[in-house]
Symmetry: C2
Subunit: 491 residues, 2 copies
């Protein structure tokens, strides 16, 4: 790392972009809106995937894989879905290239036009319900609890690494049930799984809630969401779980013979999180020195750097380090010993700080004499000299402590940024000066919601689960409001 990152206070957006690239997480490719996820970034995503996949399987789900390309006509089958998803999409129209007349390049072969265009999946409800029609005859075939890890494509005009890209990676769960009640419970269950993952692995506090009608997934009867707050006061929708009612079953004519011997439409859910979570992770914890990673998702949890002048010293240090590495690995802690001689320790310190490695050990000749080691923690940027003896147990506790501290810090920030307001002047003032979530009365109409969005760019992020009723007055319409809802500007 040659020069410092732009400071968050100077330009948050620039800081984010620089950090993503320089920490080796992702970069723009030569194709508009499509990113390359670099090895270090992908390693974090793999840790997320592994944990989520375990949680899905622990709740009874299995993985499967469905086609990338979906016939255009499938989208027209569900009226709302087509509006939401069949617009900005990548469309395959031909299946062959041929050499150009000059022999120097290739061009689309006009004779190889598809009868029906195929859309690169923006989400897979349609192709999956087309498949479920073949899988479901009777209640004995239910529930179907299937998840897919896949790439999807939405032709976004304004893109930002991880947060909004034309292609992104995600998982999409698609379940089929006998009853409304069972499907609603499934949608709620997966919301809790997402919240558990966000809070206990990403160390990112979230508010669980339900979306207003206009923010719902296209084709859903209800969309549940987890909403997180970024350091710049903007909200980030981090995961959604949809109760789809019988909409897709009706669109694709999927009926089952019920226990009562009647033909009924199947009930459905879908739920997903994506590489967007990488953006959420970065913006929840990182600082002006670079990435800050919660230990549970850090590809490297501990880095050890030798401080030496002579080769003889390096040799002695390395012997000690080998012992420490062995002990740490035995505890399941991932550790990297960076004894490369390309770079000086100072450079390495900066580099691993930039990459968000939770704990750094430095060992020099004096440490060998004294039986000590320098331990630096990334979250607080503090250092301590601790005895070499038992340093593995010390680090194990420290990692737990860092994980907890990151969550608490983020929760404190989030809680301080939920502001109650009762009139639109205060609303605008808080939105402008403080940011964060604003808890305000709402008359429940899309008109008011739209008006607020138009005037301030803030949207209703969610109606929190178990929201208390509270008599109030809508800020815009002056009509009665039965509860407060959470507004925010959002990514």
């Amino acid at each position: 790392m040659s020069k410092k990152l732009t400071k968050r206070s100077e330009d948050y957006s620039k800081w984010y972009n620089e950090l993503v690239v320089r920490a080796g997480l992702a970069e723009n490719s030569g194709i508009r809106g499509m990113m390359v996820i670099k090895p270090y970034g992908y390693a974090i995503w793999e840790k997320m995937q592994a944990q989520l996949d375990k949680m899905f399987k622990d709740t009874g789900h299995q993985n499967a894989y469905f086609p990338l390309l979906i016939p255009k006509s499938y989208f027209s089958k569900e009226a709302k879905h087509v509006e939401g998803f069949a617009k900005e999409a990548a469309i395959v129209t031909h299946y062959r290239l041929r050499a150009t007349a000059d022999g120097k390049g290739v061009e689309v072969d006009p004779n190889a036009k598809l009868e029906e265009e195929l859309i690169i999946r923006p989400t897979s409800e349609t192709i999956i319900w087309d498949t479920y029609k073949r899988w479901i005859q009777s209640y004995r075939d239910l529930p179907i609890l299937v998840n897919q890890w896949a790439n999807v494509m939405r032709w976004e005009m304004r893109t930002r690494l991880f947060l909004r890209t034309a292609e992104f990676l995600w998982q999409e769960g698609h379940t089929a049930h006998e009853t409304r009640d069972e499907a609603v419970k499934e949608a709620e269950k997966m919301l809790h799984v997402y919240a558990d993952f966000a809070e206990n692995f990403m160390a990112m506090p979230v508010i669980k809630g339900v979306k207003s009608e206009s923010e719902r997934f296209a084709g859903a009867e209800d969309t549940y969401t987890i909403e997180a707050l970024m350091q710049d006061g903007k909200a980030l929708q981090s995961g959604t779980s949809h109760f789809l009612g019988q909409n897709f079953a009706k669109a694709f004519d999927v009926k089952f013979l019920s226990r009562e011997g009647k033909l009924e439409y199947v009930w459905a859910t879908s739920w997903g999180v994506s590489t967007r979570l990488m953006g959420a992770l970065i913006m929840t914890h990182s600082d002006d020195n670079g990435l800050v990673l919660p230990p549970k998702l850090a590809p490297i949890q501990v880095v050890i750097i030798p401080i030496y002048r002579k080769d003889e010293q390096l040799k002695q240090i390395s012997e000690k380090v080998d012992e420490i590495v062995k002990k740490l690995k035995a505890k399941g802690i991932s550790v990297k010993y960076d004894d490369s001689d390309n770079y000086k320790p100072g450079w390495k310190f900066n580099e691993y700080e930039l990459k968000g490695v939770p704990v750094r050990l430095a060992i020099g000749p004096r440490d060998l004499e004294n039986g000590t080691v320098e331990v630096a923690r990334r979250d607080t940027l503090t250092k301590e000299i601790v005895p070499m003896e038992g340093v593995d147990a010390y680090i194990e506790n420290l990692l737990t402590d860092i994980q907890k501290n990151l969550f608490e810090k983020a929760r404190k920030y989030r809680d301080e940024h939920i502001t109650q307001v009762d009139n639109f002047d205060d609303f605008k003032k808080v939105l402008e000066e403080k940011g964060g979530f604003i808890s305000a009365p709402w008359d429940g109409t899309p008109e008011t919601e739209e008006k607020i969005k138009e005037l301030t760019k803030a949207t209703i992020r969610c109606i929190p689960l178990n929201n208390p009723t509270e008599e109030g007055t809508d800020m815009i319409s002056g009509k009665p409001s039965k509860q407060r809802v959470l507004f925010a500007k959002a990514y």
Copy 2:
């Protein structure tokens, strides 16, 4: 399972298709040439992925992710590559749909035409080397050892589940090196990794070799391959590793400052295996009763089925089974207890046989009295009564034994189906009557190779590694041959 599978001896191809669908591995989707990988099939693929991924990481590789869509012009940069890969491909030409005039459907918006068409990746050399250009300046940036797990698309006209589908899943390693020697070693190393995986996990013997020029990957200087033999006497190319020379570095202008301070082109490899391995796995071991899985890749290694009349009996059996399950899980063995009352034991026996579960335990009231359990192995279809006491250790050994037995059986078959011939009449006779690999002299020219392919459909599968030299006469041209090579009809 209501009716029996078609027998292999009746119609091998029909047997394969029926097995794939009825064992719950995959099925055709509503889109031509694209398959749905069903949960049970995907679970096997996940086991393959997990093991391969571990082997890649153990050999120093990291995962990353590159864009799905590649600009058309990228393909024209490497002359041979464009011929091999830019022809039958899915081509994205537009990025928006709009409502039709009658409001009932959607159509491609002619105003949303891309300036340059994008190709769904058939393989990623071009987009990756376009990226590596940004990553590589000096020898310090080398080697790059990166792998990608991804979906790819090749517009195949004749498709078969797993073996040849328009979309398939695979991994593609792409490495960059300072020297020719290092790149060649990498390509060879990954060939050995593939062979190790095939033999020790899939229990599928393979011949390691190098491809003749006409069978090489488009853009490679050498293609290494592992070739397996299916039960119908046809070969199946199961994995390839390519030494790409400096071809892609030259096409994308990727140079590095060498240790000697000179600007040089980077050396490259790429290597991949795909969901085709599922087809190979199925056709290597399975029988007329269904799938046969090697224990190391079986999602369920042991199934336990209770045999009972009365609920009281089931209760007693279940108590015993709980103990066994606990002990098996402690040994890392995956086990399913199927006490569902939807189906009779006989139905379950057939079903788990169809699904290839390596070991089946059946426990009835008499077993409880005698302290025994019936153990059936899928590979030999034999049964034994063994003492309940210590059955976990018994099964652990049995799984090892089954894994070994499957490999030995397949190796014996393969070895018996390598036939040496010296003239074209014998060649045709063996090919027709016996099948398998034919070891025959070859003059080394593409003309002879082409002639044989034209006349018999057999191709040179490989020139085995460390092939002995042997003076001989080419079967077609009558010219001198310096070594035997392996011919076969292939999938």
